[in-house]
Amino acid sequence: MGKKILIVDDSVSIRQMVSFTLKSAGFETDEAGDGKAALEKAKGKSFDLVFTDQNMPVMDGLTLIRSLRGLPSYKSTPILMLTTEAGDDMKNKGREAGATGWLVKPFDPQKLLQVVSKVLV
């Protein structure tokens, strides 16, 4: 049984790309288009890793991370931010919200898998 990874991004193409890459590596994936939908999915089942975009409609990534950290089952789940901004400001905000780390867009499939392998040994 592959590990379950939740991919949260409002861009379908990016979700497809991330999901396809992860599935090719044997992971199970689920997708959500915004923070709120992601939170619902996360409440319904447990994931081993969450990738989330920051800038999304309805609920943004930081709010999602804070909300997830408020759930007992997600206190320790690795959550990685997919972000186009790599400034200190964004990193500090991410850290405060409870993110495990970040991955700057654009990234390629190799980098993505490399990162996953660091978090999910």
């Binding site: 590990k3 990016i14 320790s76 970040w102 867009k105 490399q114």
Partner: protein
């Protein structure tokens, strides 16, 4: 592992197209003096999303330009720069250029580098200039290229879980990176203690003992990601899917063939006798109903709201009215009306032409309007509605209306047959003549006389008609009537001589068998038929279509038809029945034939021509008028 990113391009293109449309719509509707935070956020997010995807899929120019736009939009959003009408115009031009770039990405063509750089510079200079470099320089916080990093939380108690920072989120030590990968470790990171209590820790990175990253215990137990193919992931939470048009068209073609097969079966079924006949007939009836339902369902897949066309007009109206110095309000009504995708695409050009005409010729200058006691701002209305089997699209304005005298004078000049007593409707039709323009001066907007005839032909190619109504000083309306779909029509099959023809039901008012005294010959005008006080021109199809062979002129059945303003009576030999027919293009299989709009395959396998009633009636009308 190598993943071919090209497989996601199509999705990205569609997504980016949607985002650009969103940006345009938002910018057009925005009150630039006081944009709402929501609007600014949405425009920003659209640019941001395009940039993100373009970056990942390697469309560097697209991501480069959207990056610059996004940066400026961010300044506006955060109140550091102002939104103005001029900025909105610039942004709209950027949207246009991005569309071009996107098309280039699709076609794998190279955009003009100088033009691109020009665009980039133009938008970099747009704002303060400070935002041009928004990717901050690398700091101590980042790994080699800063592209990835982990925050490591010190765990005061293992079971308290993750996410508690004992230390303030101060810049932490940078962990060594493998190709841009790094880990954060706060200076006071506590070493992990309780691996078996639900938490695992990564091994420190080689040579970096401080690293401490938390992961679920499960992650520790599974040394490597399982390689077996996972179950198919649940569909993304969208309630719709994108399907290529080709696949839908293929489906429609197949259903079309099914309709023909069903008609053949029905035909054969009529000749079956005996005990099975009734059961067969019942089944055939059921088949017919199911086929019709299936057909409607499949056709509905191709239906799109007309807003796909209408949405481009706020932009057209804005640009053009600015250019001409006229105040024009665009009112859009019925944009939810659905019609066939094929029709939608082909409506763009004629509608654009009509709207441009309305603004250029129809709407007067503010001074003239004031003098005429009208509001200074003119109004152009785009309206769509469904009326029976037709879609009616109307472009109307509250301008000066068509100028009867000028059209007549111009028609005379062009050698068209005119007389002072002509009905208005006939005068208006003249503007559809090739090379006809009454514009006082030729502008680059309209007036070159290459237009209305093309508009009319475009509409006719769609199986539609265009009508004009105009009142001097109050405005003009151009009314386009289109069939719901291009592929199938309800028709009446009629016999003329040895041939069978299909007459689209939408034209037919009624059929009748005239009494002996109802038909009269009028000198120079052929025959007319007297129907309830009206005299309608009688069109003998046998003669008009140039048929040969046996024909008994005594058996006369008349179909009363209405094409636009004109009514006429088509004379046929027999009415055979009503069918749904699949339209096959005559032009693509043979050539264009006057009076014929297409062909179809009948239930008995014979080919029948579908008559272009509007064309036939119009031809007979002009022949009589001449």
């Amino acid at each position: 592992m190598s993943i071919d990113l090209a497989q996601f391009f199509q999705t990205f293109f569609e997504e980016a197209t949607d985002h650009l449309a969103d940006m345009e719509r938002l910018l057009l509707h925005m009150d630039t003096a006081a944009p709402t935070a929501d609007e600014l956020d949405s425009v920003f997010r659209a640019a941001h999303s395009i940039k993100g995807g373009a970056g990942i899929f390697g469309f560097t120019r697209l991501s480069g330009l959207t990056h610059v736009l996004e940066s400026h939009l961010d300044l506006i959003r955060s109140g550091k720069a102002r939104m103005t009408e001029a900025i909105a115009d610039e942004l709209l031009q950027a949207v246009d250029y991005l569309r071009l770039l996107l098309q280039c990405c699709r076609d794998s063509c190279e955009p003009d580098e100088a033009e691109y750089q020009g665009m980039l510079q133009r938008f970099e200079q747009l704002g303060s200039g400070a935002w041009a470099t928004s990717t901050p320089p690398a700091t101590a916080l980042e790994s080699e290229d800063g592209s990835f990093g982990l925050f490591a939380a010190p765990l005061t108690e293992a079971d308290e879980g993750f996410g508690f920072f004992a230390s303030p989120p101060a810049p932490a030590q940078v962990e060594e990176a493998i190709e841009g990968f790094g880990l954060f470790a706060p200076l006071d990171a506590a070493p992990p203690t309780a691996v078996d209590e639900g938490f695992g820790f990564f091994e420190p990175m080689p040579g970096k003992p401080l690293t401490a990253v938390v992961a679920p215990a499960e992650a520790v137990r599974a040394a490597a990601p399982a390689r077996e193919a996972g179950k198919p992931a649940p569909a993304p939470d969208a309630a719709s899917i994108r399907v290529s048009v080709e696949r839908v068209d293929q489906l429609i073609n197949l259903v079309g063939e099914l309709v023909i097969t069903q008609a053949m079966l029905a035909e054969t079924g009529q000749h079956v006798e005996g005990p099975v006949a009734e059961r067969l007939q019942n089944s055939l009836n059921l088949l017919e109903r199911n086929t019709r339902d299936l057909q409607e369902a499949v056709m509905s897949i191709r239906m799109l709201p007309i807003s796909f066309v209408f949405n481009r007009f706020p932009r057209v109206v804005r640009d053009l009215s600015h250019k001409l110095g006229k105040g024009v309000e665009l009112v859009i009504q019925g944009e939810g009306t659905e019609l066939d995708r094929g029709l939608i695409e082909k409506l763009v050009d004629p509608l654009t032409h009509l709207v441009r005409n309305s603004i250029d010729h129809g709407i007067e200058s503010p001074e003239k309007r004031r003098a005429a006691g009208k509001p200074e701002r003119g109004t152009v209305v785009l309206r769509a509605s469904q009326q029976g089997g037709n879609i009616v699209v109307e472009v109307s304005d509250d301008g000066a209306g068509l100028n009867r005298e000028r059209i007549l004078a111009k028609a005379l000049e062009n050698g068209l047959p005119v007389n002072e007593a002509m009905a208005d409707a006939d005068v208006w039709q003249m503007i559809f003549a090739p090379g006809f323009s009454t514009a006082a001066e030729v502008t680059d907007v309209s007036g070159r006389g290459v237009g209305m005839d093309v508009v009319k032909r475009n509409i006719a190619d769609l199986g539609g008609r265009i009508e004009i109504s105009s009142v001097a000083g109050q405005g003009a309306s151009f009314i386009i009537r289109l069939p719901l779909t291009l592929a199938i029509l309800d028709g009446m099959s009629v016999a003329v001589g040895q041939e069978v023809f299909i007459i689209p039901l939408t034209y037919i008012l009624e059929s009748l068998q005239p009494g002996p005294g109802d038909i009269r010959r009028v000198a120079g005008k052929g025959e007319v038929v007297h129907v309830r006080g009206d005299y309608l021109p009688l069109i003998p199809l046998f003669d008009v279509l140039g048929l040969r062979g046996v024909h008994d002129p005594a058996t006369r059945i008349l179909l009363l038809v209405q094409a636009g303003e004109h009514k006429a009576a088509l004379q046929v030999d027999d009415l055979l029945g009503q069918h749904q027919v699949v339209i096959k293009s005559l032009e693509s299989n043979y050539r264009r034939v006057p009076g014929v709009s297409g062909a179809t395959v009948m239930g008995d396998g014979r080919v029948a021509l579908i008559l272009d009633v509007a064309d036939i009636v119009h031809a007979s009308h002009t022949a009589q008028a001449a």
